[in-house]
């Protein structure tokens, strides 16, 4: 890895590099933190068990350290998610992304999802909070409900997918959710973002952030494009 490259473009700043697969090693965590610094990505998403280690690598830098809470099924109790979020913050996370109760929504239990969102907002006071749904399995009205709830609760972002399904978030998904959430809530797109073209499309459709495990490939594509311009 070379040093001294200029820090990230706006596009890189809008990318959160995610490593949330099981079995990521300490070396993987270190490598990803260094890559985030190198490419100028805005943030990084880890499972909570890796947050303390990652915090050491990004301390003092303007890099979001997001803990993935309630992943990937969101099928935990509200108290459990609140505990996990607080604990992740204690381990160095600067932002929390949690999976809403998709099963609860599909059970018609909107109250639970609303109460849980309020509890998560209270537990993460002063931090960026993101609520993750799974746009591919939720009926449109339930996805919209989560977006409206997020606006009312003061949640900062709605994330389009857990990334653990095969779902690829489309520009249309982003427009739809963004419209439901309104201007106060950002949309973080995730799921199937592997190329610069897709990344630009989603940002163009109104996504404020992208979460992807293919961040480096996208940044390299961008660098190649710029190199071409310079030549």
């Amino acid at each position: 890895m070379s040093v001294g490259k200029p820090a990230g473009s706006d596009l890189a700043r809008a990318i959160d590099y995610a490593l949330i697969r099981p079995g990521a090693t300490y070396a993987d965590v270190r490598r990803i933190c260094l890559e985030v610094r190198h490419y100028g990505f805005g943030g990084i998403v880890f499972l909570p068990v890796h947050c303390e280690r990652a915090a050491g690598y990004v301390a003092g830098l303007d890099i979001r350290l997001v803990a993935a809470v309630g992943f990937p099924n969101g099928a935990f109790t509200t108290d459990g998610k609140v505990f996990e979020a607080r604990d992740a913050i204690a381990h160095g996370a600067t932002a929390i992304e949690y999976v809403v109760g998709v099963g609860a929504l599909l059970s018609g239990n909107r109250d639970l999802v609303a109460r849980e969102m309020a509890a998560m907002r209270a537990a993460t006071d002063g931090r960026v909070l993101r609520a993750t749904l799974e746009a591919s399995v939720l009926p449109d009205e339930e996805a919209r409900f989560v977006c409206q709830l997020a606006a009312e609760a003061g949640v900062d972002f709605v994330v389009t997918s857990t990334g653990f399904t095969d779902a690829e978030t489309t520009d249309e998904d982003v427009r739809r959710l963004s419209g439901a959430a309104g201007p106060g809530v950002g949309i973080c797109a995730t799921g199937g973002i592997r190329t610069l073209e897709v990344a630009r499309g989603l940002l163009g459709a109104g996504a404020r952030l992208l979460r992807t495990s293919a961040a480096v490939a996208i940044a390299e594509e961008l660098a190649g494009e710029r190199g071409g311009e310079d030549a």
Binding site: A27, V49, F83, S107
Partner: protein, 218 residues
């Protein structure tokens, strides 16, 4: 083997993002017609399942840090305390797979001991080492560490993966009967289940228990 004998060796359950309350009710009602050994749910449905399983003879299994194993030890212990409070009979806790893949068996030992201590004999601690992503050496070293920490049962996989008879044979060959082995991962046919039991598995874990029973005479 008769169908009921096979069912007693099966642990089933329903887990996942899209599972609804109705799914849990329906599935437990159906499972109640068989002498399955245990039934696993995500923590959000633990209290409901406790109620529904009453009188069925099936043990209640709580999925802890499931299925990724990426929660901190503190969060895992919090979830075990919740399972104790609901009076679940056993937990399926996914291990700190990052520690295993990093060769950090000290952390694995420490965490396993802590889980056993919190369980305090009131709930069976069954852990998931996710064999699918481990090398042979890692499988052996993990089981060795678990035994040292007081864990006496593993469930082979939690997240994807297809359970291989070779893995069961490996653990049996190295550790004899010291550790209970619950085979899990992609078990959907009678043949696969019988192969795993022949290899020495103590239980079969499957969310698709009925196809597994299909080819066994009642």
């Amino acid at each position: 083997m008769k169908r009921d004998e096979m069912a007693r060796l099966i642990k089933t359950g329903i887990l996942g993002l899209e599972v609804t309350e109705d799914d849990v009710r329906r599935d437990i009602a159906k499972a109640s017609g068989y002498p399955f050994s245990a039934y696993a749910v995500d923590l959000s449905y633990l209290e409901l399942a406790k109620e529904l399983l009453d009188g069925t003879g099936m043990l209640l299994t709580a999925a802890v840090s499931y299925p990724l194993g990426g929660m901190t030890l503190e969060t895992k212990l919090d979830q075990i305390r919740f399972a104790l409070q609901v009076r679940a009979e056993e937990i399926n806790a996914t291990l700190n797979l990052g520690a295993i893949k990093s060769g950090d068996y000290e952390t694995l030992r420490y965490e396993s001991r802590a889980m056993v201590a919190v369980a305090d004999g009131a709930i069976d601690v069954i852990v998931i080492p996710q064999f699918e992503i481990l090398t042979t050496a890692e499988k052996v070293r993990t089981c060795e560490t678990l035994l040292d920490a007081g864990v006496r049962a593993i469930k082979t996989d939690g997240h994807g993966g297809v359970c291989q008879p070779e893995d069961i044979l490996l653990v049996r060959r190295v550790f004899g009967r010291e550790i209970s082995i619950e085979a899990s991962g992609g078990i959907r046919t009678t043949r696969h289940a019988l192969d795993l039991l022949d290899a020495g598995a103590d239980f079969i874990h499957t969310s698709t228990a009925y196809p597994v029973l299909a080819d066994i005479p009642g």
